[in-house]
Structures are given as C-alpha cells and as structure tokens.
Symmetry: C2
Subunit: 330 residues, 2 copies
C-alpha cells in the first residue's frame, strides 16, 4: 500500500506548488466569483474571489493517478472512472466559464446543465452494466449481500450519478466545506479499495488503481485546502464540485458500493435533501419555509453559527459517518 501513500503525497505536493500559479492565472482572466444573489448577506464580501480553483486539485490528481496506476490484472475500472470524473468536470467547467464571461451568476440554464449530465450518466450506467467486473448488482453494506437490480440498474445508477454530482455542487457553499468533507470521503474510499484489493485475487489490480485514484484526489484536495481554507483565497467552482462529485460516484459505481454514499457523503446528501424539502414545502404552503435558507449549511449560518464552526461540525460529522461506513467493510 506504499504506492497509495506516495500517490497522495505526490498529488499534495503538486497541487500545493501549482496553486499560486493557477490562482494568478485565474485572477488575470478575471475569473472572480459572482456571488449567488440569493446567498446569505454576509457572503457578499466574497465577491471577486477567483473561482474555478478546482483546477488546483483536478490536474495534479489526474497526473498522479495516471503515474501511479498499475497495469496488472484487468484494467477495467480506471478508464470508466476517469470518463465519469472528466465528463462531469467538463460540464462544470463550461458552466463556470459562462458564469464568468457573461457575468451571469447562475451560468448555464438548468436545462442546459441537466441534459448533458443525464446523457453522460445513462452512458456510464450502460458501460458499468456490461462490464464483467461490475454488472447489474449493488452490494448492500453491513449485511454484505449482493442485490441484483437487473435492467433496473440503469435508471437507478443514472439517478445516483446525477444526484451525487449535484449534491456535491450544493455542498460547495462555505470556505473549506466541500473540500474538507470530500477529503475525508476519498480517504475513506481509498481505504475501502485497499481492503477490497487485498481480498480479491484476479481483480486486485482494479481495486489498487481505485485506491491510488482516491489517494490522488485526496492529496490534490489537501493542496487546494491550503488556499481554500477560511478565509478562502480561491473557490473550487462548479468545475471543482462536479469533478469531485463525479470522481466520488465513479469510484462508488465501479466498486459496487454506491449504497455507502448516503453514509460517507452524508453532508452532500443532506444538502440536496434540505433543498428538496425547502422547495417542496415552499410550493405546498405557498410561501412558507422550513429552513431559514437551503442548503442546510446556510440554515446553520443564519441561525447564528459562525461559518468556521459550521465547517468544523460538517467535517467532524463526516469523519464519524466514514468510521461507521468502515465498520461495514473492515
């Protein structure tokens, strides 16, 4: 497992070194964040902080994942996960680019953003379905039963893919929040993949590559957090959040542990859920709200909790959920 540790360290070193150059470049191109008009009042001061900082972890993690991956065994998982990660990352990139160039806070229209995501997700679901190392079943954690969904796998996995990626994007709203929680998520999946590699015989190489990939992303996030920690000098942007969401759900898909996502990525899950509850309740009651603001982290902020405290709470909760998830594996 030395390979996995060195991957994380190399990716961390690269993103730490690349950070200042990428930030300078983003500043020059005026990729300053146009703060979402409906966010909390206190966030107005964040106007002008460069966005698209996700590039700081995206490039180093790709380079190190490629450099440290192994060719042994069947080489099934890595190409699929890379397409998933880069595909979603690209959609996020286009959205960021339009936001900045047109100075329009919301980027692509919801429709323009959703259609390519759904197309990509359906394609990935079919790819996984027909892959002999993956197929149509999910592993039910804790009881360790394989649950074969048959053709139903396609719509379910499409929903999980689109849902996770957009949840990651919703979580990205406070300094170091999405990055910090994702760091813990990828570290956990790296351990899970390492354990699975040790257990499987012919497919070990596949799982080693996933452990390496997760370590590469985790290391890249570490470097990014150096600059994104409060007070943030850069935001990850949609390119970053979509990249992380795509990478996370990609690994969950190929390892067949997608059902662990609501535990490991609970913070993302709650962001979506609170948004859905808020909007549904608002529509049903013609104007009443359950949360002071959705996603949930803004509710805590508006309830008087300092931004840094909310982030601390989310990170600690994520560690606890990841430990819980690991009890179902180790």
């Amino acid at each position: 497992m030395q390979r996995v540790l060195w991957t994380a360290l190399a990716s961390f070193a690269l993103s730490l070194a690349a950070g200042p150059f990428i930030m300078k470049w983003l500043h020059k191109l005026k990729f300053g964040q146009t703060i979402y008009d409906l966010g909390p009042e206190s966030h107005k001061k964040k106007q002008g902080t460069p966005t698209m900082g996700g590039i700081i972890f995206a490039l180093p993690s790709l380079v190190t994942a490629a450099a440290f991956s192994v060719a042994e065994g069947r080489f099934d998982f890595l190409p699929m996960v890379l397409v998933c990660t880069l595909g979603f990352g690209l959609i996020g990139f286009v959205d960021d680019f339009i936001k900045v160039k047109l100075k329009r806070s919301l980027g692509l229209t919801p429709m323009q953003k959703m259609v390519p995501q759904i197309v990509l997700s359906i394609g990935l679901s079919f790819w996984a379905y027909f892959n002999k190392s993956i197929g149509s079943s999910l592993i039910v954690p804790f009881v360790n039963v394989e649950w074969d969904l048959g053709w139903f796998y396609i719509p379910v996995m499409t929903f999980i893919l689109v849902g996770t990626v957009n949840s990651a994007n919703l979580l990205d709203g406070l300094d170091g929040l999405c990055g910090g929680c994702s760091l813990i998520d990828f570290a956990t999946f790296s351990v899970i993949c390492g354990v699975l590699a040790g257990r499987s015989a012919e497919g070990a190489g596949n799982f080693i590559n996933m452990a390496v990939f997760c370590a590469a992303v985790a290391g890249g996030i570490m470097g990014f957090l150096r600059y994104n920690g409060h007070p943030a000098q850069v935001f990850m942007g949609d390119v970053g959040a979509f990249y992380l969401g795509g990478a996370l759900v990609g690994v969950a898909m190929v390892t067949r542990y997608a059902l662990l996502l609501p535990i490991i990525a609970l913070a993302m899950f709650l962001s979506s859920l609170s948004d859905i509850i808020q909007i549904s309740y608002f529509k049903a009651t013609h104007g009443k709200r359950i949360f002071k603001m959705a996603p949930l982290h803004h509710h805590f902020e508006l309830s008087g909790m300092p931004e840094t405290k909310v982030v601390t709470m989310y990170r600690l909760g994520t560690i606890a959920m990841c430990l819980l998830a690991l009890t179902g594996i180790i």
Copy 2:
C-alpha cells in the same frame, strides 16, 4: 479492527455529549483563561474563554479505552500508557488550577512544573526498560533496525517524554491547532498499532489495546474540536495539552516507535525548536529575534496570516508527515 472504529465513535459521542455540561461547569467555577501576557495583541479578546476543556476529551477517552480494551495476550502496555497519560495530565491540571485560582497567568513556577515531570519520566523510563515486551531498544523507522541503547535508554527516554509533553503544550496556542494536529497523530498511531497487532503473535493483544487507546483519544478530541474549533468556546488548557502529550509519547514509548515522533508530531517539535532557537539567539545577540514571536505559529500570525489559515496549514502538513511516517510501517 471493528473494535477500534467503535471505540472512536463511542468516545466521540461521549465527548460531544459531555462538552456542554463540562463547559457550563467550567464557566460556573470561573475557569476562564487568563491570556498569557506575552501573546499576540489580537489574542486579548480571548480573555474569559474557559480553559481546562481538555477534560472534555480526557474523561471520555479513558472510559472508552477501558471499556473496549482486551485482556487477551500479555497485558503489558495499557497500564504504563495510562500512568503516563494521567500522570502528565495531573501535572497540567494542577498548573491550570493554580493559574485560575491565583489569577496568575503562568501557573506553577518553571521549577515546580519541571521537577514532577522529570521524576515521572525517569520512573516511566525504568518501567519500560524492565518490561520484557519493551526493553532498551528503539526501532529506527524506514530501515526497521532495532537500536539497543542499553542503560542509555533511561536518559534518552526521559528526554523524549519531557520534551514531547512540553512541545504539545507549546503547540496549544490557536483555536483547533493542538487538537487538530493531535487528532491526526492519534489516528496515525492507531493505524500503526493495528498493523503491528496483525504482525505480532503473542503480543497482539498489547497492540490492539494501543490501537483502541489511540482511537479513544482521537474520538475524544473530535468531540472537543466541535467546541474548540474557531471561534473557540473553550480551550484545552495545560490539563489537555499535557494529557495529549503524555498519551502520544506513552504510545510511542511502548511501541518502541519514539523515533517516529519528530515526523508524526512535527508541529509539536517545531514549536519547541522555534522557542529554543528564539531564546538562544536572543541571549547570544543580547536582544535580537529570529522569529517575530515564538512558538512558530505566532510568527506566522504576526506575519499577516489569519489564525484559521495557520491552523489549516499545520493540519495539512501534519497529514502529509503522517502519510510519510506510514510509508515506513505499512
């Protein structure tokens, strides 16, 4: 290893639940921190924040470490580590108590603080020396050679014990700094002890107990960080820093991996080193300073880096060093 994960989760839940009660009690007893007169100007506003919050992780970690430890194999390590942890914790407690009751910012005099530490350390060094599972040798990491120090083990280990505990105390100067770095340290030592347990036959129980103990402390710190994260509602105080330092060096001593401490606990090490360099240089030059202020984290602060950024940097650096240390074990 499920036992280890559950220990951390139980300890986290306990400290999270105990936190508000302990803070209320500290408030009632007026255990507010009398901020060190020589600290940065900006820290004056922290006056009145209750100290001795280390109790929030100390009690839950003791309870869970005891509850989840195993009696199998030789029961050599845990009693020694508990004496080390509680012994140093008690010295810290007395120091805090005097600070608060006498409203004297520095607590015990340096002499009153040092003598019991040295006596305790010599006692522990002899205990380890005569313990058949420990003895007089240290493991040199990375090359994995046993280095037998003979009788020289006593002064060396005494120095390591006193040095580590006081370094932990020096690191405790910013919100979530000592707690955050220690959390990573204990998680790492828990993994190391888990790996050592898997490798050793008759002594496995000893190492399992150490993995459990480290997880208990790590979980306790997680709960504490909920309240100690910036802006801190409570400080750990000397009782907390001495407890953590004692626990950390205790585990390093019994596992014979004390030479990993400068890597895993680099943040603590740098705090001491910068203090020593600053004072020596000041004396040699009759009044010149190398750092704007020592320990090092205050230097970064006074150089214009926000407190939360310094803490982020230290935590990320600690993760990297711990990954590096693990390459020598796994």
